[in-house]
């Protein structure tokens, strides 16, 4: 998956972000202030930067000004949610803006969107002999094409993006069917059953008590 630089001076939040990135299979680099972030960027090439605005030394806006030429997508993370601050961020060329406190799923979704926009999202992904080609929207099992309905594929994509994280049935409906879908959560159960059967993932897609479903992938990164 993608390589992401996290620039955040609050250690707990930095850890929170990187632990979740690790969970869904992203690589990450940690940085606790602006100038060290700049030196990391001199050495390494990254796909995305999560940048806190209030940083010791150089602040996030200043860092942004200095790295704009790299053309790396940047998502600002900040506790300031005034309109003026948001406009400053977007004017500097930020791709998105996450306000503290944020939901992990929301952060992952925004990262996903930003990566897809810059076509840094991985084209394919495989597990247990099942190959998922995201760009072609095709799934192969041991070289054999698997017939999935459009909705089943959407659901599979959501599960892969948020792997190792339990998603409630409501969340899955929202992410795979869209906000305005007025279906029952039982619809999700039906589709999950189909996916498990077609891909042979009865042990991969776990039912989590009281929560929902989770695609479990051990030791991927």
């Amino acid at each position: 998956m993608a390589k992401i630089l996290v620039v955040e001076d609050e250690k707990p939040i930095n850890d929170l972000i990187t632990m979740n990135l690790k969970l869904v299979g992203h690589e990450f680099l940690k940085s606790f202030d602006g100038s060290s972030a700049l030196s990391v960027l001199e050495r390494e090439e990254v796909d995305l930067i999560l940048l806190d605005v209030m940083l010791p030394g150089l602040d996030g806006y200043e860092v942004m000004r200095r790295i704009r030429h790299l053309n790396v997508p940047v998502i600002f993370i900040t506790a300031k949610d005034s309109l003026a601050d948001r406009i400053t961020g977007f004017e500097l060329g930020a791709d998105d803006y996450i306000i503290k406190p944020f939901e992990i799923l929301e952060m992952l979704a925004r990262i996903h969107v930003a990566l897809r926009r810059s076509t840094k999202e991985q084209a394919g992904w495989s597990l247990d002999g099942v190959e998922v080609r995201l760009a072609e929207r095709q799934v192969y099992k041991h070289g054999q094409a698997v017939e999935l309905t459009a909705r089943e594929f959407e659901l599979l994509e959501v599960l892969i993006q948020n792997r190792n994280i339990a998603l409630s049935r409501e969340k899955l409906l929202e992410l795979a069917w869209g906000y305005d879908f007025e279906g029952e959560t039982r619809t999700v159960d039906v589709h999950i059953r189909q996916l498990r059967r077609k891909l042979g993932w009865e042990d991969r897609i776990k039912t989590i008590f009281k929560l929902g479903y989770r695609l479990e992938v051990q030791g991927e990164s």
Binding site: I13, L23, M54, A79, K100, P101, I208
Partner: protein, 462 residues
């Protein structure tokens, strides 16, 4: 209509009416006088002619001749022809019968102007003395000259008005513009201020009412300006406090929410579980501390304190005990010295004050440096002084230091210090003691914090 236009118009109208009225009256009077003079002259001449005719008739009579119509006609004719050369017409009437002359029927002793074909005339008549009093002599003379000169005078007055009017208008215009200039200046300045440029002032040095008005106006503008500046400074401070509070609340909340979610939903091992729950624990403590400090601040603001006599030695010792751990961790030596025994105050609050000061001093100090905690008397007050030799603050930082949530570090990182409420609490404690608080700091030289407390209990016990 503008003020200057109104003034100009009214003054012009008044002036022209007054001028016309007075000139008209003078002309009228002079016309009357001239005419009176003409009438007088006519009367005199008439009397002279009548007398001459009488003399003539008398001498004719004394020569024994009968004064008949023919004689009268001859006499009248000779006189009339003589006077015609002087543009005087004479008529002679006998008992209502015209004997000689042309003209109207005016007979009798009366005066009149007649505008005939020959123009304006004065006509006078008079009876001849007795015994010829049946004869009436009528005298008429043209006064066209008089009218002509009157007309000439009228024309001249109109001419003068045509010249004087514009001249006066121009002079008035200049005068009024000059007088109303301060008004325009005031108006312009008011407009500029209304547009938000509160620094604008009226530059008017007049010693008159306008100067006074300008002076008062400037005073008002200054008052408004200082209020506006105060308000914007207050608004800025408020915004900063809100921003900082938001940061202080959002940061731990983000971690707590995120890690709770992580524990709840993620597929993780034991190590991650311990890390995540540890963060939830530590961030909860951080939030708890913040909430307690905020509560302290608000209770301090509302509650009055109970003053007791405190042994300074004991106070210092308890503070040293509380700070021992922090001091050892930072490898900083605390030097204590007291030259006064007692102080009046609330022991818990004063201890809290000193702990806050020493915490700040520790964060500002370098390893192996010293912090001094001193108590001494000065001007009948007890001074408690906390002094460090650390990195100090710039004058701008000193100015904002007492603001709630203010942190010299713009990123507000957690490595040093708490939420930035320490000095706000110190200030509240000082206010509760009605004590003066003095913060002196120099960059890279250190900071000196002094509180001036009562030596004796000044409160009157009831």
């Amino acid at each position: 209509m503008r003020f200057w236009q109104k003034t100009l118009l009214v003054v012009m109208i008044l002036f022209i009416v007054a001028l016309d009225l007075s000139v008209g009256m003078i002309m009228n009077k002079s016309w009357q006088l001239n005419r009176q003079r003409e009438v007088q002259r006519s009367d005199n001449e008439l009397a002279l002619i009548a007398n001459n005719i009488y003399e003539n008739l008398n001498s004719i009579k004394s020569r024994g001749m009968v004064v008949g119509d023919n004689v009268l006609l001859d006499v009248a004719r000779s006189y009339a022809e003589y006077y015609r050369r002087q543009k005087i017409d004479l008529q002679l009437w006998d008992r209502g019968q015209r004997i000689y002359g042309r003209g109207g029927a005016a007979a009798g002793n009366e005066t009149g102007d007649r505008a005939g074909q020959e123009g304006h005339q004065i006509e006078r008549s008079s009876k001849l003395p007795a015994p010829y009093d049946h004869l009436i002599l009528v005298y008429s003379r043209s006064i066209e000259d008089l009218y002509a000169s009157q007309r000439e005078l009228n024309r001249y007055i109109v001419f003068i008005q045509l010249i004087a009017g514009p001249l006066l208008a121009a002079a008035l215009y200049m005068l009024i513009r000059q007088i109303t200039r301060p008004l325009r200046q005031l108006s312009r300045t008011t407009q500029t201020i209304a547009e938000g440029k509160y620094g604008e002032r009226v530059a008017l040095k007049n010693k008159d009412e306008f100067g006074e008005l300008a002076q008062h106006f400037n005073q008002m503008a200054s008052a408004v300006e200082s209020h506006v500046v105060d308000l914007s400074v207050m608004a800025e401070e408020k915004q900063r406090i809100v921003d900082n509070l938001a940061h202080e609340l959002r940061t731990p909340l983000t971690s707590m929410q995120g890690f709770a979610q992580y524990l709840n939903a993620a597929h993780i091992g034991e190590e991650e579980r311990i890390t995540a729950s540890g963060y939830i624990w530590s961030e909860t403590m951080r939030l708890k501390n913040l909430v307690f400090k905020l509560l302290d601040l608000s209770t301090l603001r509302r509650q009055s304190i109970e003053m007791t006599c405190i042994q300074v030695d004991e106070l210092f010792e308890s503070v040293r005990l509380m700070e021992q751990g922090n001091l050892e961790q930072a490898r900083i030596h605390l030097f204590m010295h007291t030259s006064t025994a007692n102080v009046w105050g609330d022991p818990d609050l004063l201890a809290s004050y000193l702990v806050n000061c020493i915490d700040n001093a520790i964060h500002a100090s370098h390893e192996d440096s010293e912090i001094r905690l001193l108590a001494y008397e000065q001007d009948a007050q007890v001074v408690l002084e906390v002094r460090d030799f650390g990195r100090g603050m710039s004058p701008k930082q000193v100015k904002q230091a007492f603001e709630p949530f203010y942190r010299a570090d713009p990123a507000r990182s957690r490595e040093h210090g708490g939420a930035g409420l320490g000095l706000s609490i110190c200030r509240q404690i000082a206010e509760a003691h009605q004590a003066k608080l003095l913060l002196e700091s120099e960059e890279n030289r250190g900071t000196r914090m002094r509180i001036f407390l009562q030596l004796h209990n000044n409160e009157v016990h009831t």
